[in-house]
């Protein structure tokens, strides 16, 4: 029998309403899967070293210690001003490495796609991932794609795991916070959470607030290059600055005290928070970090950051004090120190 001519099945599915879509068959590991990866995902990512014939990627590792992190991204809507699930998936993981004092280098990319997802949407997310990876200076070395039945996920879920090269010396961590250390933020807060909230709930704000979604490595690298050694850094994602402070308060057995008037907030973001009854300190950021520095390093740090456009509004917002009954406190209008509560769940707008 002549086996030279292979029989190629052709999937006849064309969805009503136009536009090719992801089908369960794309996730079955066969020809359609291979096509999806080779003809769509790989070209979109322009990845170096993305070898789909191997089950694992080999890391071109050097002598330094490595850090690893993982995170999953399920944001809705998928696209919002200033970012999307793709850029979020890259920067989120890269930033977790950066604030640990590790230069982000390599990412894995796991996609879980809902059956019926428009391929045009997938293309858009992939393009965004590629752009973000370039901006963050990371390579996507390996990945996985699964397709699940309609309703099992909301369009796309993404997991990225990242590996980075640890700077020397790495931050010693929140347990080492000293009385007198100064707390600093790298820019105006609450942009991401408000942007996503508006994109999802359509409160009618104009201009639509934009996320601060961006890589933080340039901030960390600049600080380190100038000899600044933060004791701890954290990107202030879900739960905002308040969540980070509470984590650090618990880890350090110290009191963290901030001055509300020192915290930078863009006027329009502040206005949105006032209208919705939300506290900017509780709202997520995706391109803004909190750092704890020895007091003598604050001036040089702020002076350096003020010369970088992305961090021109970095500011000292508070101090580490000795332990008290209140692990996190904020000085508000009367000048009193009031406890800053730990955020409970997603911020809910209020009228009352």
């Amino acid at each position: 029998m002549n086996r030279s001519a292979a029989w190629e099945p052709v999937c006849p599915v064309v969805r009503p309403g136009g536009g090719a879509v992801v089908t369960l068959a794309h996730g079955e590991g066969g020809l359609l899967s291979r096509r999806l990866i080779q003809e769509r995902i790989v070209p979109a990512l322009e990845s170096i070293n993305l070898d789909c014939t191997a089950d694992a990627a080999l890391l071109p590792v050097s002598d330094c210690r490595l850090a690893m992190t993982t995170d999953s991204f399920v944001v809705t809507p998928l696209f919002f001003p200033g970012g999307d699930i793709g850029s979020l998936a890259v920067y989120g993981t890269a930033n977790d490495l950066a604030v640990a004092g590790a230069r982000p280098r390599w990412l894995s990319l796991s996609l879980i796609l809902e059956e019926g997802l428009e391929l045009a949407v997938l293309d858009r997310v992939l393009a965004s991932i590629a752009t973000a990876a370039r901006a963050a200076g990371v390579s996507i070395l390996t990945g996985d794609t699964k397709v699940v039945p309609r309703g099992a996920v909301d369009q796309i879920f993404i997991n990225t795991s990242g590996v980075g090269e640890i700077l020397d010396p790495a931050p010693t961590g929140p347990a080492t916070l000293q009385v007198g250390d100064v707390l600093l933020v790298s820019g105006p807060i609450a942009q991401h959470g408000i942007a996503v909230l508006e994109a999802r709930e359509e409160f009618g704000f104009d201009p639509a607030p934009s996320s601060d979604c961006a890589p933080l490595w340039p901030c960390v690298a600049a600080l380190y290059q100038a000899g600044i050694r933060p004791r701890a850094m954290r990107d202030a994602t879900r739960g905002g600055v308040a969540a980070v402070l509470h984590e650090w308060g618990a880890a350090s057995n110290r009191s963290l005290v901030i001055d509300e008037s020192a915290v930078p907030v863009l006027p329009a973001i502040r206005a949105a928070c006032e209208l919705l009854g939300l506290d900017p300190l509780h709202i997520a950021n995706e391109g803004t970090l909190v750092a704890a520095l020895p007091a003598e390093q604050v001036e040089p740090a702020l002076s350096l950051l003020s010369r970088l456009p992305a961090y021109a509004r970095a500011a000292a917002i508070g101090r580490v004090e000795s332990a008290s009954d209140t692990s996190v406190a904020v000085r508000r209008a009367l000048g009193r120190l009031q406890p800053l509560d730990e955020p409970l769940g997603a911020p809910l707008p209020r009228i009352c």
Binding site: F203, G204, F205, D206, A268, A271, A272, L275, C352
Partner: protein
């Protein structure tokens, strides 16, 4: 019942008495709000907005009153009191 935020009327959209709408600006953030209860507001006036509805036109003289009264108290003590009319200049 509580959250009422002052914003500036920047553009009238619909002058219908019941379904009046206008674009209100809150420090650079704009939103179209319902102005049936503040149809006498002119462009440039401030309104208090609750749940997307203007519930009053803000009275600038009354806004100053608490500061004037405090200034009266403060004259004895020699401290200066800021207020809305003195705190900012119009853009």
């Amino acid at each position: 019942m509580c959250l009422g935020i002052p914003g500036r009327v920047i553009r009238w959209i619909d002058r219908d008495p019941t379904f009046a709408t206008a674009e209100i600006e809150f420090d650079g953030l704009r939103r179209v709000c319902h102005l049936a209860c503040a149809t006498d507001a002119n462009v440039g006036d401030f309104v208090i907005v609750h749940a997307g509805v203007a519930i009053s036109r803000l009275d600038p003289q009354a806004a100053q009153r608490v500061f004037d009264e405090l200034a009266r108290l403060g004259d004895d003590e020699g401290w200066h009191v800021p207020g809305p009319e003195r705190a900012e200049h119009e853009p």
